[in-house]
């Protein structure tokens, strides 16, 4: 996919760009509204990752250029300001999602994939791991056609790990995905172990779950 990253914080932009490149995407980078506007007028993008606090104005003004030149592009607003008005105007002007900084790259990836699945209308996104069929759109996990009953949190956790398979996911990343930005306190990252333990127990009744590895001292990883 070709992605336009609009971000004025160079250090952060470099890291996001490197991450997206590692995911095999083409990334163009702009750090001002003017340069982003030029890019939008001259290239075709699948995704625009848009920061709002830019040196020459509010990033929201670029949403007009997106609707003029990039009919098929999806927009994710990335912001540290977290103002309710930005959120409302952003969604009203055609943004597809809104991600508050600081965010995990894996969260960004999950959101991008969710938008793609939603826009393509493809609702049979099922991933097969160790004999299990895990749906990314519906909260359904099955083994040899037999549906396995999981709690909502367990589904969300499993789906997130599946999207980021072959990558170590630490407890903080998983906790943030499950409980969002405003965790009561750090204690909740320990609850991830409880959920993973229950997940293993429930799936283990049907087949071996050796594909869900514990990485000692760090977190978990799905091998596929």
């Amino acid at each position: 996919m070709r992605i336009l990253l609009v971000e004025d914080e160079i250090s952060l932009a470099n890291e996001i760009r490197d991450f997206l490149k590692s995911e095999n995407h083409l990334v163009d980078y702009s750090n001002t509204i003017a340069s982003a506007s030029d890019n939008l007028a001259s290239n075709s993008y699948d995704f625009v990752l848009l920061d709002l606090g830019l040196p020459d104005g509010n990033g929201l003004t670029l949403l007009k250029d997106v609707s003029n030149y990039q009919k098929n592009a999806s927009v994710i607003i990335l912001t540290a300001r977290s103002e309710i008005n930005d959120k409302i105007i952003g969604f009203e002007s055609g943004a597809d999602d809104y991600l508050s900084k600081p965010f995990s790259f894996l969260e960004l990836k999950a959101r991008m994939q969710a938008i793609l699945r939603r826009k393509s209308g493809w609702n049979k996104d099922v991933i097969q791991i160790g004999g299990f069929e895990i749906s990314l759109n519906n909260n359904v996990v099955a083994h040899e056609g037999k549906e396995i009953k999981l709690t909502k949190k367990e589904y969300i956790l499993l789906q997130f790990m599946v999207i980021n398979k072959n990558r170590i996911l630490n407890r903080f990343q998983l906790a943030e995905h499950l409980w969002g930005d405003h965790l009561d306190d750090e204690y909740q990252s320990n609850y991830i172990d409880v959920h993973v333990k229950n997940l293993r127990k429930k799936l283990g009744m049907y087949a071996a779950v050796d594909w869900l590895e514990t990485v000692r001292g760090l977190g978990y990883k799905i091998i596929s």
């Binding site: 952060l12 103002e83 600081p102 990252s189």
Partner: protein, 438 residues
């Protein structure tokens, strides 16, 4: 109680009091005046009789043949009588009194005016009486008419009071509805003046508008400050997090490097959560959240129970949903409401005594919907709780790995959502009550 109702009630009570006084004293006052009037009439009657005697002589009343037989006359209904008889000597003064007289075997009470006088060398007694029954009848008619008029006056004046009060209070009610009701949401405030020709209301309206403009201004300044603070605090954290994540994804990390990175991630998470919590508290205080959602509370409670039952189980704690009645909390913010109740459950899980249990109840009451979360275990000191409620302290506890923001976030959200929150510690149990308005 509403001012309009209060005014009406006080008016009604005042008039009712007046009516009561009239009911109690009316008969006596009326009797007094009627008797006075009757006495006056009796005196006038006496004057007439005396004048007739002086003009025409005594023979019209007492015959010369039988001067010892006096004259007595009464009308057909025995309402009035007149008596004239010869006596031995005169009395010093005229007298008016109530006396019993037997007329044709009927004993009747009369108001009697007695007058003695001398005529042609003889002494005479003139008695003119009016039946008390007649007086009482007049009294009763007067009293009933007065009561009727008073009740009519009362009803009419209540109606008039209602109409006039309503009209006079109209601008005041508009000030309450359109201006004071929005005091918690200054951004929505409309400073258009309320039309009124009552000077006090105009002053009040103007004062509220000016006060709200000042609050609006400080809210906006606070909002801009929070936005800048958020940007300035979160951007470096984002940079640090992105760099840490990039380092994590490196394939060739040693065990020691991984552990060091986890430590850094841990510290960064602490910082991130503190910043997020402080910004959240500021944003809730600054009313930066929409209240446009409706929440099915029983469903939310069931989902929270599902989320936390297994976590509780892992600690040997049982979570029980005692009651889960249907209730829809309207015009609110789902994520804040969820966070508020989740924080209470999370606290209960942390503070419950080992092997204890936590009960949840969602009960619909006539005036409100209530969620009660009860856990066995030592509670929080009420003085400390009061300080938390007022935003003075954070209950930071290292051994519980608590950031100290949870309770305060709960209180701030409750205020913002209009939920009454109460935390009590009783007999080794902690109870959290959320009362949602209906």
């Amino acid at each position: 109680m509403r001012l309009f109702a209060k005014l009406l009630l006080f008016n009604l009570l005042g008039k009712g009091f007046f009516l009561l006084i009239f009911l109690m004293s009316g008969p006596y006052v009326l009797r007094y005046f009627i008797l006075k009037n009757t006495d006056q009439q009796l005196v006038e009657e006496k004057e007439k009789v005396i004048s007739i005697i002086q003009k025409e002589g005594m023979q019209n009343f007492i015959s010369e043949e039988n001067p010892d037989i006096g004259f007595g006359s009464y009308n057909i209904l025995k309402e009035e009588y007149i008596l004239l008889e010869k006596i031995q000597e005169t009395y010093a003064n005229d007298s008016i009194s109530i006396q019993e007289r037997i007329i044709e075997e009927d004993e009747i009470s009369y108001r009697v005016f007695a007058h003695t006088f001398e005529y042609a060398g003889e002494f005479y007694l003139l008695e003119i009486g009016r039946s008390l029954n007649t007086i009482e009848q007049i009294e009763s008619i007067f009293f009933r008419i007065s009561i009727g008029i008073l009740f009519l006056f009362l009803a009419f004046s209540v109606f008039l009071d209602m109409t006039i009060s309503k009209r006079i209070m109209l601008p005041f009610n508009k000030i309450i509805k359109t201006k004071i009701a929005q005091i918690n949401e200054p951004q929505e405030f409309n400073d258009l003046p309320i039309p009124s020709n009552t000077e006090e209301f105009m002053i009040l309206d103007q004062a509220i508008s000016e006060m709200m403009k000042r609050i609006q201004k400080s809210f906006n300044q606070e909002r801009i400050f929070i936005s800048h603070a958020s940007h300035e605090l979160k951007t470096p954290i984002s940079v640090l997090q992105s760099k840490l994540e990039a380092m994590f994804s490196a394939e060739n990390l040693s065990q020691i490097q991984s552990e060091k990175l986890m430590d850094m991630q841990h510290t960064l998470q602490k910082m991130k959560k503190s910043v997020n919590a402080l910004l959240l508290i500021s944003k809730v205080n600054n009313a930066q959240f929409l209240k446009t959602e409706n929440i099915e509370m029983s469903q939310m409670l069931s989902e929270l129970l599902e989320d936390w039952a297994e976590i509780g189980q892992s600690k040997g704690v049982e979570l029980i949903l005692l009651e889960n009645q249907f209730f829809v909390f309207e015009n609110t913010n789902q994520s804040l409401c969820h966070m508020m109740i989740q924080n209470a459950i999370s606290n209960a899980v942390k503070y419950v005594s080992k092997g204890g249990k936590i009960t949840l109840s969602g009960i619909v009451n006539p005036d409100f919907y209530e969620i009660i979360i009860e856990n066995e275990g030592e509670g929080i000191d009420q003085n400390l709780l009061h300080q938390v409620k007022n935003g003075l302290v954070f209950l930071k506890e290292v051994d519980k790995e608590k950031s100290g923001f949870g309770l305060q976030i709960m209180y701030k959200i409750a205020i913002f959502l209009g939920v009454q929150l109460d935390v009590k510690s009783l007999n080794g149990k902690t109870l959290v009550f959320f009362r949602f308005p209906k």
